[in-house]
Symmetry: D4
Subunit: 256 residues, 8 copies
Amino acid sequence: MRCVCLDEKDLEDLLRGYKQGSVTLQDALGMLKKLPYEDMGFAMVDHHRQLRQGFPEVIYAAGKTKEQIRDIMLSLYHDGQENIIATRAEPDVYAYMKEALPDVQYNTPARMLYVERNKTVPDASREVLVLAAGTSDLPVAEEARLTAHLMGNAVRSCYDVGVAGIHRLFAHMQDIERANVIIVTAGMEGALASVVGGLTPKPVIAVPTSVGYGASFHGLSALLAMLNSCASGVAVMNIDNGFGAGALASKINHMR
Amino acid sequence: MRCVCLDEKDLEDLLRGYKQGSVTLQDALGMLKKLPYEDMGFAMVDHHRQLRQGFPEVIYAAGKTKEQIRDIMLSLYHDGQENIIATRAEPDVYAYMKEALPDVQYNTPARMLYVERNKTVPDASREVLVLAAGTSDLPVAEEARLTAHLMGNAVRSCYDVGVAGIHRLFAHMQDIERANVIIVTAGMEGALASVVGGLTPKPVIAVPTSVGYGASFHGLSALLAMLNSCASGVAVMNIDNGFGAGALASKINHMR
Amino acid sequence: MRCVCLDEKDLEDLLRGYKQGSVTLQDALGMLKKLPYEDMGFAMVDHHRQLRQGFPEVIYAAGKTKEQIRDIMLSLYHDGQENIIATRAEPDVYAYMKEALPDVQYNTPARMLYVERNKTVPDASREVLVLAAGTSDLPVAEEARLTAHLMGNAVRSCYDVGVAGIHRLFAHMQDIERANVIIVTAGMEGALASVVGGLTPKPVIAVPTSVGYGASFHGLSALLAMLNSCASGVAVMNIDNGFGAGALASKINHMR
Amino acid sequence: MRCVCLDEKDLEDLLRGYKQGSVTLQDALGMLKKLPYEDMGFAMVDHHRQLRQGFPEVIYAAGKTKEQIRDIMLSLYHDGQENIIATRAEPDVYAYMKEALPDVQYNTPARMLYVERNKTVPDASREVLVLAAGTSDLPVAEEARLTAHLMGNAVRSCYDVGVAGIHRLFAHMQDIERANVIIVTAGMEGALASVVGGLTPKPVIAVPTSVGYGASFHGLSALLAMLNSCASGVAVMNIDNGFGAGALASKINHMR
Amino acid sequence: MRCVCLDEKDLEDLLRGYKQGSVTLQDALGMLKKLPYEDMGFAMVDHHRQLRQGFPEVIYAAGKTKEQIRDIMLSLYHDGQENIIATRAEPDVYAYMKEALPDVQYNTPARMLYVERNKTVPDASREVLVLAAGTSDLPVAEEARLTAHLMGNAVRSCYDVGVAGIHRLFAHMQDIERANVIIVTAGMEGALASVVGGLTPKPVIAVPTSVGYGASFHGLSALLAMLNSCASGVAVMNIDNGFGAGALASKINHMR
Amino acid sequence: MRCVCLDEKDLEDLLRGYKQGSVTLQDALGMLKKLPYEDMGFAMVDHHRQLRQGFPEVIYAAGKTKEQIRDIMLSLYHDGQENIIATRAEPDVYAYMKEALPDVQYNTPARMLYVERNKTVPDASREVLVLAAGTSDLPVAEEARLTAHLMGNAVRSCYDVGVAGIHRLFAHMQDIERANVIIVTAGMEGALASVVGGLTPKPVIAVPTSVGYGASFHGLSALLAMLNSCASGVAVMNIDNGFGAGALASKINHMR
Amino acid sequence: MRCVCLDEKDLEDLLRGYKQGSVTLQDALGMLKKLPYEDMGFAMVDHHRQLRQGFPEVIYAAGKTKEQIRDIMLSLYHDGQENIIATRAEPDVYAYMKEALPDVQYNTPARMLYVERNKTVPDASREVLVLAAGTSDLPVAEEARLTAHLMGNAVRSCYDVGVAGIHRLFAHMQDIERANVIIVTAGMEGALASVVGGLTPKPVIAVPTSVGYGASFHGLSALLAMLNSCASGVAVMNIDNGFGAGALASKINHMR
Amino acid sequence: MRCVCLDEKDLEDLLRGYKQGSVTLQDALGMLKKLPYEDMGFAMVDHHRQLRQGFPEVIYAAGKTKEQIRDIMLSLYHDGQENIIATRAEPDVYAYMKEALPDVQYNTPARMLYVERNKTVPDASREVLVLAAGTSDLPVAEEARLTAHLMGNAVRSCYDVGVAGIHRLFAHMQDIERANVIIVTAGMEGALASVVGGLTPKPVIAVPTSVGYGASFHGLSALLAMLNSCASGVAVMNIDNGFGAGALASKINHMR
């Protein structure tokens, strides 16, 4: 989909042309009547540009063919200078992509395909902390960590700090106190989000994972627990949505 | 329903009577053929007697009329010397019952009607600890506490020790270490059970409560969280089932 | 529950006392062994103090008696100079409270009881925007708005801007572009969160409301929709949790 | 199953025969007594005939053997002159079918097997518009599009116009305004149906898709959202039921 | 919320004014730059006008105060000549409204408040048929019937024609055959929609009702059944959404 | 709704009339063409008549006005000689009905209104046994018992025989062995159905009740348990559907 | 598990032995005290014997190894003269079994392994009718049909008679009227059970199948629909439980 | 993650060092300020030590690589003398592990990898009894049995004692009466837990299994049934959580 957009310059040209007679009233009217959507697009483009200062469009690889992923990735690669991300990409996509674009890298647990070329050093005083309750939550935590990293944040991660051995969490108390934004990934009972939420005044982004069995119901258990967190300031993402958490953490972390 | 039971003495009498001729083969056969159920009853009675060493039948008042509750309670009152419990009794039942049985007492938050007359001093070295995550969980916690108390246990309770302010829980670390069995009542995300389960080698009985709103879905959230506890040794009761938790804690606490 | 805390000064006194002999080795050891929890409490207090720079403890009035609410509120009133909030308070609590504390105010749709006495002018350049899809979502939106306001934020609100008449939303495009953090409250299909999430690079906090009937299942429909938002950067709160959204928005908005 | 049907002509013959004596009272009675079901069949046939002016029976291939599908398809092929559709057919069925019936075609994403032989030009002024929120919704959208096309409608489709980038939708505003009936396919939060429903006075048929993960619960999230659409005039189909949407759109589009 | 809209005339005046010099380039640009949303509003107004040829805005009374309902209703009453509808209005709202607007009428089972003043005779050859499976489904059926009637359709209704006594339905076969659009309201197992869907080539709008008990789960049972209808061409509305069904039927019935 | 039905006699008259000339071909055709539905009705009437040998139409009082219930009941009273049943009738309906029809009786727990006038003695050798797990299941059990009784069956009932005290059930072993059909009503975990299903070769009709709290989810727990009964030959009714169980038991019990 | 059972003869021997002195009082007592369970077993055996007049134990093959299935089947084969059934057996089990027991047969769609050797001619006047709504419901219908057949019933089956083409059902009206018990298997919306329930005074056993997609939720949709059937006398089995339906139908059909 | 812990000895050394001047006030303060977490660790270690008297850390193999499992297992093997358990390990992990650690054993149905080297004879008078309702529940029962065995308990198991043939259960009455703690594993309707709970005064740990099909919903049916058990003293574990049941039973069984 492509929408032809008019920026302010085009608009000015149109008005001048009409005044000078090179554009008829009818043509000007016809064009301006269609403007809402084009201007809408215009506004979007502007918005996109600003967003893009942080990061360009991200590719959701699930349900796309190798060819489609390659084409979009190459297009992003040649059009800009930013880092590029494709989430939920299987290993065979990486093998295929590697040939077309040797710069591409792959994070196996996170199933993320990416090109890292923006070498701007992130603000080390504003750390995003990614916590994972168990080692099985690692794929989701890694997706969050890598996303935040590629979007220009200093990221620290502590895995296997679930509440059943709460001393493991407390050993990371300094990391928690230092963090600017905290992402908590946890499956099963998802209790880590509440405990961390009570230990910090900073925003906590909770990501329920589908880790568990039986009555975990593929992450429902952790999702409900996190939504009902008695700690205020805990926001919740979809089950296994590490990317979303990383992107939101980056948005918050870049606020000034 | 009443089932006529034969104890060992009856059985011996029957056999002797048959040998001596006072009981015919036909009568003995007829009686013995019915035995399974009567003996079944017999076994039950035996079992009941043993159980009753701890406690007699408990009245579930919900869905019973005032008159029914009174009749059962008076029957238990006159037949034994044990404490008596009726759970889920509304205040008006207490008013009604008080007239028929002045010894009766009422715990308002727990909605428990009871007669306490067994003055045996419980073993103070074997404490049941009842924890409540928030003050709203108090009715369920009180039901558990009072049940365990009336069943002959030393009980200690700490309320409002939820995980969002985990220092409140740690201030009770000694109580946790001292306890023989721990009951955890919590609504919302029910995380307290997992944290406590990780802090103690003793059995933890988790009772989800219907405290919360929205996605707590009347206790479902806490129930699922507790079932998925990553701490081993956590067993779960039905939502708001404080009585069951107290009774189970008492069973475990009396084991030797 | 009260936990006796030791701050750094106490710790120093203890050590000096021990060196000087006024504290025995045994006593010092006994005290320090208990320290984890007290220090934990200590850390918490520290943490609380920092949090409190924004706001002190908030009272969840649901399930508390009028007397309890009054006592906590008066205690907060006399102990500090900050604004005070009690959420989910029914009108009769307000009437009762008004007598004990004439400064108290009440927001009827939000069911919030509050004392506003911190007159610090919020940073007008950092606006929290509260959007409500329909007029029925207003109670939740108002809870969010008032919470953010009392926590020291400039807040703007636009109600009845649901997606079925999307021009109503676009008429507020400037508000959306100006906002630092956006709270979206919506029931039924909860689509507003996704649309707004696509229009802004700022964090969006989505609050599903229980508005609707039939297959809205008391807010489940909006909750699921928001969790599945195809716009990245949308975080979700519990159904009807306007307070949580306001508190989180305030945390994010105060980040620098 | 086959039911012998009597049309009006048969009925008249029967009556005349009876009057003239060639049919006995007994035989006439016997036949007329069975009539309800046969007439029922008769009504059905009539109904079928009318329906068939649009389209004959459609084959639901899922759960049928290759042989069964071939036999039904060949029977329809030789009995009429209309287009033929088999939905949810896997690629290997196509290979098998192609040998038996070289005219058969296959739409891979839609998994539809079809024979197109009715060359009637559809009414171009009455367009069915098929929208898909994302590229992953394409299989469902294609099933809807092809169904409507084969049933004799002018169909236009715009894919990847989801609400998270709403300018992409507005770029198709003219298509929306021109359309006579609109089919909206969307997974995840399914918000597109509400937005489109608010932009057009025409009927909107919403098809939730199973696209998404985690709390999308295989399309439940989009289904609930669409059922709760705040835009009036939005009707909902089963999850992934593109065929049903296409068939209903065709019914509505052929109304005069 | 009010959005200032420019119609084509305003646009022409603006352009002419600019050409003639009464509007500066800067002012014209400033105005046109804001156009998207205003034009958006403009497009909406246009759309609204067309929709309104059928019917103006409908008031959803649930969750609105009597005063709010009165004000909106009076505003609609004085601004136009069309019929007015307020859905889900309780009887006391009617009593209150009757004083302010004596023309107002009330349908008790449907809980609809309305003013009927458009005396245009509907096209009798294009009937909307409203079927109700049982007498308990009548409130929803009446809401659908009255909505379709007030929106200018000839409506016929047959109640208590559920499938458990299918002869009752067949006695209305002529009504079914004559109908242009059919609305089926049914609770419990909701089977009526499938049976009717198989009897007619016309669009069927199925409205599950919350009638039933136990495993009907407040309409979920009928909702799922209708979504899974094996008859093609059945579209489903939210549980108890009679209004939506009436409005959609009217849209379809007015198509030409 | 009333459907004019033609029985075989009418049909014969019609045919003879046509032969004799008193009925024209056109009239005969017109009549016969409508026959399907009238014959359908005819078949139904026949069916009804046979069913009625057991019992006439039963009134589902929920959602009907007092006047409607009275009118239907009086109509049934004056048209036949059979017993009459109205289920789910509140006590005030009884008071109202008693004036209009002094013969009417009321079963309070079952909320059944009935007239018993058929004095046929049921076959005592074919007993329907109604079991209730707890006293709270009594309303459902009574509805089942009274229904079966009024439909002409010898009925025996044993209440409070739940599996937690299985000796209580075994004391009724002879009743179980003697029964021809067994109805089991149970809430909570609904285990009684499986135990009884394993003890008898006769059909067991299981009725889950909404008795319980928390995770009983208003009968869902018992419903699922009964559907999953490992004993073969257990059929399940809707939650709390005592009437349906009684009616089905009667159908089975009358089979010969 | 094996339980040593005493039949009446053993009991008599024991008593006589004791009287004659060959059994001591102690031994007799010891034996009789254990009797409940053994007698329980005894009762069961008796019960089993009676049940077995119809059919012996049925093997649920799912989750059993080939060897286990073979051993049980051979044991049943050599111990009796009845038909033998193993349900949910995969084709490879058949191949394996065929070698060990050449008499074994296999019904592919029903996945049933069986030995048919009881040549008793069933009572042709008492037919079990098995209906299937669609061809995809055939596996479940076949399991029901074959079970009822092997248990000694005359069985008739009509497949593909779903309600969307209700004339197909009515063409089988005579089969329905003739049947003694009717089994209805249907997936999707499961409406067939209600329609058939309204057409017959005989017991209807409804089996929801997992046929469908999307909101059929693996048979939940049909299950709920059937539980809520507005036709009385419809009992419901677990999803896809064709065996249970066949066994129950056989129990009912053999009643006299 | 590793947390450096201070035991009492370290603390004493620190204090003495400070008094003697070898540790400065600043260093002592710095160290003690960090103590909460370290002490927390300390408390944990203590707790771990005690727990470890029974058993060391257990490895949850699901989601871990072969290498990770081997490393942890070897570390546990070389660090202690206790039995070692890894749950949910697939057979290929066993093959791999066997090479690295020849002492390792594997229980196929339970999917448990273990090293048994603690030869302490368990207290035979305190038996843990593991019951399984059906043979399909065996994997879960075996996991529970082996866990309890390896944790030092005398364990007895009776499988295939489900309630549909209750005499099979009663044949094990002596085992039930002798047991100190009872674990009940059951799928489908999970009724065994309630029956056993009514037969014993000892704690019953109920483990729902995912055995079943259709409306068992992967164990939900058994889970709900067990949570709603009318027998008091029944605690519930997550679906298929045999390990948790064995560990809890061991905790209870070791209480004195």
